[in-house]
């Protein structure tokens, strides 16, 4: 039986299976069940995230799901095709603004009337978007971003390695400028505009066919809150994209992309047209980015052009390196780790703040770390987010995040997936070490 020995597969079918071992089949099924139970708010299962993330745990988790879609996209470009890109935020922005141009309507503008009146934007034609339903704007946001990817590809394919990284940095800054240039689509540069909601309509009717933004009964069966509905919707979309990403790697196209990653000249010698496949890699990756960007903006409701900055791209590179480049499971692990660590730190600090009054080591730690007001030397400020030396948790999270990127690259270059592989191999080979 093959699954007794690490990495030994006896047939091609077995080698390309989505879940090659019984353990993986079991773990995947269990994970699936847990996800559904989480969405339904089952008592024991949901106590785990609520311990780490506080009582509103479903919000950071749902917010993470569109980013996971975009992360799968950059995994296809960087992890599978081997083209280092720091321009993912640009493609996410393209997708998001395609979505808002197609799906937005007048309502979204009313929320920020003072700003737009000041800018003289309210009189302009076509600023509100066409008001089309989600089944049109969501696919087109992906297609729009993929087209942007195809347009950029000829320039990007010419350069390799670090030069490609720099070119894609330039792309992000050009995108930011476009956001400033076109306030009729993007809204004010700092405060942005609102996005169409996730509700499913057949056309422009008043009441949506399936509502995702109001508490209520779903299909007359089950009562869910707004957050739970969005969680389920995004989980389903993410699942479909995960399946596609997994299948892509198993197909002829995926093998061609991997051949280019491993050695581009050798791939060309074997008859893989380098330019076509690199362009395809850019297109698929940007498609994911566009869908992810549109869903993320739509879930958050309001986005400003500054959101699609270089640091969003760096997020995805970090996700890839911390999770483990080239694998779907690693990408998802990385997204969970990168996006939820700041929330965990925040919850921990809040908990610590409540402990200052008590006695014992926890209170001692709290007194060292936290500062209320000024004059105290604690590095973490518990007050409102203000500038100044005791830095707020928000800024400390950025520091932790940067240090985590460095630490993972130095100590575990394969990322979380690499840790899992090590543990698995140790377990399977026990009591032998090799």
């Amino acid at each position: 039986m093959a699954f007794n020995r690490p990495m030994l597969r006896t047939s091609y079918q077995e080698d390309t299976a989505i879940f090659p071992t019984y353990f993986q089949k079991g773990a995947a099924s269990l994970f699936f069940v847990v996800l559904i139970l989480l969405g339904l708010g089952a008592p024991i299962v949901s106590s785990i995230p609520s311990f780490f993330l506080g009582s509103t745990w479903i919000n950071p988790i749902t917010n993470m799901l569109p980013l996971a879609i975009a992360a799968l996209g950059i995994n296809i470009l960087v992890g599978v095709t081997g083209q280092v890109s720091l321009g993912h935020a640009f493609f996410m922005g393209v997708g998001a603004y395609t979505a808002v141009a197609l799906g937005g309507n007048g309502d979204e503008w009313q929320a920020c009337v003072p700003f737009h009146q000041e800018l003289g934007l309210l009189e302009q034609e076509g600023q509100c978007g066409l008001g089309l339903p989600i089944w049109i704007w969501l696919p087109f946001s992906g297609i729009g971003a993929a087209l942007a990817g195809i347009i950029v590809a000829p320039a990007a394919v010419k350069v390799r390695g670090l030069y490609l990284a720099i070119v894609t940095v330039g792309l992000v800054f050009i995108g930011l400028h476009l956001g400033r240039m076109l306030p009729s689509i993007a809204g004010d540069f700092e405060s942005g505009r609102k996005w169409p909601k996730l509700d499913f309509r057949l056309w422009k009717e008043e009441t949506p066919l399936v509502s995702f933004t109001e508490d209520g009964k779903w299909f007359g069966l089950i009562h869910l809150t707004e957050e739970q509905k969005q969680y389920f919707l995004l989980i389903m979309i993410l699942g479909a994209f995960m399946l596609f990403a997994k299948n892509l790697v198993r197909s002829r196209t995926g093998r061609a992309l991997q051949a280019i990653r491993d050695r581009d000249i050798a791939a060309e010698v074997m008859g893989v047209p380098e330019f076509n496949y690199k362009r395809l890699g850019f297109a698929i990756s940007s498609f994911y980015a566009g869908i992810g960007g549109a869903l993320w903006a739509s879930y958050n409701g309001r986005m400003a052009p500054v959101n699609w900055s270089l640091f969003l791209s760096v997020d995805f590179i970090a996700i890839l390196l911390i999770g483990g480049a080239g694998t779907v499971a690693g990408t998802i692990l990385g997204t969970i780790f990168v996006e939820l660590t700041p929330e965990v730190v925040k919850t921990f600090t809040e908990w610590l703040g409540e402990q200052t009054a008590s006695n014992g080591p926890v209170a001692w730690l709290a007194n060292i770390l936290l500062t209320e007001g000024s004059g105290d030397f604690g590095p973490i400020s518990t007050g409102t987010v203000a500038l100044g030396w005791p830095m707020s948790v928000f800024y400390w999270n950025l520091v932790i995040y940067g240090v985590l990127i460095i630490a993972f690259l130095i100590f575990e270059p394969m990322g979380l997936y690499g840790i899992w592989v090590k543990v698995r191999n140790y377990w399977k080979r026990w009591p032998f070490s090799y």
Binding site: V84, P154, A155, K158, V159, R160, G161, L162, Y163, A165, I166, V167, V169, G170, L171, F173, I174, H177, L178, R180, M181, L182, I265, A266, V269, L310, F311, V314, I317, A318, L321, F377, L387, G388, W389, M391, S392, Y395, W396, L398, V399, Y401, G402, V403, L404, I405, I406, L409, I410, P413
Partner: protein, 334 residues
């Protein structure tokens, strides 16, 4: 009629001269930071995305020294700080610049030792991402811990100007060019010195350099220290010259200053000193001249369009010459 035409012509000439001086001043900033990038890349093959954070830390340190008169949280005053409300004399100001550069160099040394040295031998991209991590981790300290929107650099000549053939030339622009000239001469001289030759040897072939008895680790450290100091000098120069921040370290422009220099090193080639100098002046000229002479199309192009001109130039250059104008083409072997 004649006089009006002449006036118009002198006006145009003065505008051109003014624009040229401004382009040279911005070019000086770009040259300094680009030289920092190139030295680090030549010696260690690392594209230092953290240059912006290091540079801003240096400029911030100087501004704390000179306008706060000491370091916060430490019980020690700066004995050289100018009296309250007075500007420092030019030599004193120079001393402060030197102290800030030493601080930046030390900072660069520490970063190299902690984060870069353990990564030697890893893929280039992994190293570049480590520097991105440094950028992310240092940036909050630059932006937040210092509490102010923009901080004064105590420039002795403030916004004083000279007049030259009808054109108004701020003293800061001239000082920027002088600083850049000093910086690039120092770099060129450094590469003639014993240590500089060692660095060139390491850049050429690490193993062969080691076999000749060169301490590669020390060369790495010196390259990072030098690169950090040059980047900080660039940031101080930018803060000093009356570009938008106007004698201050700005919270908005300084953090992305190093990213604005990326087109310069792409244009010049990642590993070419001459490329950094020529590329810096060219990119800055493109930016400033586009900003001056296309300003009538501001409504169509969007305000601040001149800042993306470098990226557009970079895209065009890369499509035509993928390794920059002076860069070494990478030979791909099967």
């Amino acid at each position: 009629m004649m006089t009006a035409l002449q006036l118009a012509q002198t006006g145009a000439g003065a505008t051109f001269l003014q624009t040229l001086v401004k382009a040279l001043a911005l070019g000086s900033v770009y040259v300094l930071i680009a030289l920092g990038f190139v030295i680090v890349f030549k010696a260690t093959q690392v594209l230092n995305f953290a240059a912006g954070a290091i540079a801003m830390a240096g400029a911030m340190f100087m501004s704390i020294l000179i306008s706060d008169g000491g370091i916060p949280l430490l019980p020690f005053d700066n004995p050289l700080a100018p009296a309250e409300g007075e500007a420092a004399s030019i030599p004193m100001w120079g001393v402060h610049v030197l102290i800030a550069l030493v601080f930046a160099a030390l900072f660069g040394l520490v970063l190299e030792r902690v984060a870069i040295r353990p990564m030697v031998g890893q893929p280039l991209f992994a190293m570049a991402v480590v520097t991105l991590g440094i950028e992310v981790a240092v940036r909050p300290f630059n932006l937040d811990a210092t509490a102010l929107e923009s901080r004064n650099l105590g420039v002795p000549w403030k916004a004083e100007t000279w007049e030259l053939a009808g054109a108004i030339v701020p003293k800061s622009y001239v000082a920027a060019v002088v600083l850049a000239a000093i910086g690039s001469t120092a770099v060129l001289l450094f590469f003639r010195s014993r240590l500089g030759v060692a660095m060139r040897a390491v850049a050429f072939d690490q193993e062969a350099a080691m076999a000749q008895g060169i301490n590669v680790g020390r060369v790495f450290a010196i390259a990072w220290g030098l690169g950090a100091a040059l980047a900080a000098l660039g940031a101080i120069t930018y803060g000093m010259a009356p570009f938008p921040p106007g004698g201050n370290v700005s919270q908005e422009i300084h953090p992305i200053l190093a990213f604005r220099v990326l087109p310069v090193i792409v244009l010049g080639g990642l590993d070419s000193i001459a490329g950094a100098i020529v590329g810096g002046v060219m990119i800055a000229s493109a930016e400033i001249f586009a900003g001056q002479y296309l300003s009538q199309y501001n409504d169509t192009l969007g305000s601040g369009y001149s800042t993306i001109v470098p990226y557009l130039v970079m895209l065009v250059v890369l499509v035509v010459r993928p390794f920059g104008i002076f860069g070494t083409p990478e030979i791909r072997r099967v």
